[in-house]
C-alpha cells in the first residue's frame, strides 16, 4: 500500500481524516476502518479532507458509500472537503453527494460541524 496513506487529526470534537494518494479497495477499506473506529469511540463528527487524494477508483467509491452508511448508523455527521473537480464529478455521478455535505475547504466543514 505504498500508494496510499492517511493522517488523522482532532480539531475539538471533530475528527479530520486526510487520505493521500490512490484510494483503491485497500485504501478505502483503511479509510472505512479508521472512520468506524472513531464512530465506535463515540465521536460523531468526521471530516474527510480529499485535498491529497490523487486518484479514486469505482471500488473505492463504493466503499465510501459504506462509510456514509456507517455514519448514519452511528447518528454521526460526515462531511467531505477539498474535493477536486474530477472527484466531485465522480461522486456526483455515482450518487454519493446526495448523502453527504461537501465543503470547499476543511475550515468551512469545521465551522459547520462546530455550529
Amino acid at each position: 500500500m505504498h500508494n496510499f496513506s492517511l493522517t488523522v487529526k482532532s480539531v475539538h470534537d471533530v475528527v479530520v481524516i486526510t487520505p493521500r494518494g490512490y484510494v483503491n479497495d485497500l485504501g478505502a477499506e483503511t479509510l472505512e476502518h479508521t472512520s468506524e473506529e472513531y464512530f465506535g469511540q463515540g465521536r460523531k463528527k468526521i471530516v474527510i479532507n480529499f485535498s491529497d487524494m490523487q486518484f479514486i477508483n469505482s471500488i473505492g467509491v463504493s466503499i465510501l458509500t459504506g462509510i456514509v452508511q456507517k455514519a448514519r448508523e452511528h447518528d454521526g455527521l460526515l462531511c467531505f472537503s477539498n474535493v477536486k473537480k474530477i472527484h466531485s464529478d465522480v461522486f456526483e455521478m455515482l450518487g454519493i453527494t446526495r448523502h453527504v455535505k461537501v465543503f470547499k475547504e476543511e475550515v468551512d466543514a469545521l465551522c459547520f460541524l462546530r455550529g
Binding site: 500508494n3 490512490y22 477508483n57 469505482s58 464529478d89 465522480v90 455521478m93
Partner: protein, 557 residues
C-alpha cells in the same frame, strides 16, 4: 439447409468463441446445462457463429446431435410452428445419424414422407415421435408441447443429447394459439429449456432478447466486434479476387466500422472491382455505402420494419435528430419537448428505436449509439427524409465528422504487469502525454478515471492471473483513443452502469460502476475481441466541450 453463409476461410477472428461454444455444447452430453444466449450488436456475427457451430457439431463429432432452427415470422401460430419445428428436428436428427445432407432441407416434406424416411433409416424413435405428434395435432397447444418435447425424447430414446441452436428467438414473443395473436405462448417454452440431455443456445436481436422474461435465467455469451487486425484480415479475404488484395483496410476505417462483419461484407461487396490504393479510396466507398448504398438501405429497412406508418417514421426521425444534435444523454421528457411530442408518444417511439438499434440508453435516458456507422446512416436518413437534402450535401456533412486526424495520430504503447496498482503507471503516463500535447487538465482527469477502470477490469477479468495488460494511446488532433487489451475474454459490456453484486470476494459492489464511469467520462467505449483476448477502446473527442456525459449526473442527482 446450408450450415454456413461464409466460407471457413472468411470466418475470421472467432476461433476462441467457436471453441468455447463447442465445449458448452459437448457439455450437454454430461447432463443439462443452463440455456445460453448469444448477445452482441446487430451484424456482429451471432447468426454466423451459430451456423459455424452447427457445422462443426454436424461434421466433427458424434457425442451430441445439433438442431439448427430459425424462428420463422410467418409460422407463429402454435400449429404451424409445432409442425415446422418437429419436421425440421426429425429431418436434421436423422441426417446427423447418417451424415446425409439431402435431409437438411425438408421444405414441403409431408409427415408421411418423413415417417417413411425414418422407417427407411430404422429410426424407431422418430417414428414414435411422429405418431405421438400426429395423435395430438388437432389441439394446437398439445401439438406445440409435443414438438418442443421432441428433442428431449429423441435424446432419451437414442441416448444422444441434443444441442438446439435457435436463431431469431425473440420472434417467439409473437407465438399465438390460433392466429388471433391474443395468447402469448412463449412462457410454455420454459419447461423445455432445462430438460436433461438438451442444451439450448439462442440468439437474435440483442435488445429484444434481453427484454424477454424467458431469457432472464440464461447464461450470456457476448459476441464482440472484431479487432482491427481481424477486421482488416476479413476485408482482405473478402476482396482476394480483386486487383488489390494486399492493400489493408485503414485502421481508422476498421475502427469506424466497429469491427462489424456485416459492414465489412457490404463494404467489400460495394468496392467491387474498383482499385483501392489510398486511404481516401476506402473512405469514398464507405461514404457511398453508408449514405446511399447497401449499409444505408439496411438502415432504411430497419427503420421501415420498426415504423411502417409514415407519421410515426417522421416522428422517429425527429427524435433521432434531437439526439444527434444534442450529442449527450437526454431524458425522455427533454427529447419529447425538443421534438414537440407527447411524453408517452416519445417513450413508445424511443423503445422501438432502441430495439432497432438507432438509440442507446437505459432507465429512461437515451443517447446516440456508440456505432459510428449507425450514426452516419441516421444522419443521412434525417437529412434526406426530413430536410430533402441531396446526397452531396449529406456527404459533405458526414465527411466533416470523420476521423480524418486518426491516421496522423501519435501513439504510445505501454505494457503493464498484472499487478495491483499497475494502473497508476498508465494514469501517470497519460498525465505526461497530456502535458506534451497539451491537453486540458480536465480532459486528462476524465480520461484517467476511465483508464483506471479499464485497466482494473482488464486485470481482474484476464484469463491469466499475472497476464500483462497492453495499453495504447493514440493522440490525434481531433481525438484521443486509448485501448486496453488483456488475455481474458470475460469482460461483460453492461449497458446499465449499475453495480454488479458479488464480483469481489468481500461481496462489495462497484465494478459495474467502473463501466458507468468509463461511459460517462469518454465519448465512446467499445469492447472488442482480439487475437490476444479482449480490448476495451476509449475514445475522447477533443473538439467537444469537456463536460462529462449527463447520464450519471442526472440519475445520481
Amino acid at each position: 439447409m446450408p450450415f454456413t453463409a461464409l466460407r471457413e476461410e472468411d470466418f475470421l477472428g472467432r476461433r476462441e468463441e467457436l471453441a468455447a461454444l463447442m465445449g458448452r455444447s459437448l457439455d450437454a452430453a454430461n447432463g443439462a446445462g443452463r440455456p445460453l444466449v448469444l448477445t452482441g450488436a446487430a451484424g456482429v456475427g451471432k447468426t454466423e457463429l451459430l451456423s459455424q457451430l452447427c457445422a462443426q457439431l454436424f461434421w466433427k463429432q458424434d457425442r451430441v446431435a445439433p438442431f439448427r432452427y430459425t424462428v420463422n415470422a410467418a409460422l407463429l401460430s402454435a400449429k404451424d410452428f409445432a409442425r415446422d419445428f418437429l419436421t425440421q428436428f426429425v429431418c436434421q436428427r436423422i441426417a446427423f445419424d447418417s451424415r446425409d445432407q439431402s435431409l437438411l432441407s425438408p421444405a414441403g416434406m409431408s409427415l408421411d414422407a418423413l415417417a417413411a424416411a425414418a422407417q427407411e433409416r430404422r429410426a424407431s424413435w422418430a417414428h414414435e415421435l411422429l405418431a405421438h405428434y400426429d395423435a395430438s395435432a388437432r389441439e394446437p397447444l398439445d401439438a406445440l408441447r409435443n414438438a418442443l418435447a421432441a428433442p428431449h425424447l429423441a435424446a432419451l430414446r437414442s441416448g444422444k443429447p441434443v444441442v438446439l441452436l435457435i436463431d431469431e428467438f425473440p420472434r417467439l414473443t409473437g407465438l399465438h394459439r390460433d392466429g388471433t395473436g391474443e395468447t402469448q405462448l412463449a412462457p410454455l417454452f420454459e419447461a423445455f429449456l432445462v430438460l436433461p440431455m438438451t442444451r439450448w443456445i439462442v440468439t437474435g436481436n440483442e435488445t429484444e432478447l434481453l427484454e424477454m422474461p424467458l431469457t432472464a435465467g440464461f447464461e450470456r455469451f457476448p459476441v464482440m466486434p472484431l479487432g482491427d487486425q481481424d477486421a482488416a484480415a476479413l476485408f482482405s479475404s473478402l476482396r482476394r479476387r480483386h486487383p488489390d488484395p494486399d492493400v489493408s483496410l485503414p485502421a481508422s476505417l476498421a475502427r469506424h466500422l466497429h469491427g462489424n462483419p456485416r459492414y465489412l461484407n457490404l463494404l467489400a461487396a460495394a468496392a467491387g472491382p474498383r482499385a483501392l490504393t489510398e486511404e481516401r479510396d476506402f473512405w469514398a466507398v464507405y461514404l457511398q455505402e453508408a449514405l446511399q448504398g447497401g449499409i444505408f438501405r439496411h438502415g432504411t429497412a430497419l427503420l421501415t420494419r420498426a415504423f411502417s406508418d409514415r407519421d410515426a417514421r417522421r416522428k422517429a426521425l425527429l427524435i433521432l435528430e434531437t439526439l444527434s444534435r444534442s450529442d449527450e444523454t437526454l431524458t425522455r421528457h427533454r427529447i419529447a419537448q425538443a421534438a414537440r411530442l407527447q411524453d408517452d408518444d416519445a417513450e413508445s417511439l424511443l423503445q422501438s428505436l432502441h430495439r432497432a438499434g438507432f438509440v442507446a440508453g437505459a432507465f429512461g435516458l437515451y443517447r446516440t449509439p456508440d456505432d459510428a456507422v449507425v450514426r452516419d446512416v441516421t444522419e443521412s436518413l434525417i437529412a434526406r427524409e426530413l430536410h430533402r437534402r441531396s446526397f452531396e450535401d449529406v456527404e459533405r456533412t458526414v465527411r466533416g465528422r470523420l476521423p480524418a486526424g486518426a491516421e496522423k495520430a501519435v501513439s504510445y504503447e505501454l505494457v503493464l504487469p498484472g499487478m495491483r496498482d499497475a494502473e497508476l503507471v498508465a494514469a501517470q503516463c497519460l498525465e505526461q502525454i497530456g502535458k506534451n500535447v497539451p491537453l486540458p487538465p480536465e480532459i486528462v482527469g476524465q480520461l484517467q478515471v476511465a483508464l483506471l477502470e479499464a485497466c482494473i477490469n482488464a486485470r481482474e477479468h484476464g484469463d491469466e492471473p499475472a497476464g500483462n495488460v497492453f495499453v495504447r494511446f493514440e493522440v490525434g488532433t481531433d481525438r484521443i483513443v486509448i485501448s486496453v487489451e488483456s488475455p481474458g475474454r470475460e469482460f461483460v459490456p453492461l449497458e446499465t452502469g449499475e453495480p454488479v453484486v458479488g464480483i469481489r470476494e468481500s461481496g462489495r459492489t462497484g465494478r459495474g460502476w467502473g463501466i458507468k464511469l468509463m461511459k460517462n467520462f469518454v465519448d465512446a467505449v467499445t469492447f472488442e475481441k482480439t487475437p490476444r483476448g479482449t480490448r476495451v477502446v476509449l475514445v475522447k473527442n477533443l473538439l467537444k466541450p469537456t463536460n462529462a456525459h449527463k447520464e450519471g449526473i442526472q440519475s445520481g442527482a
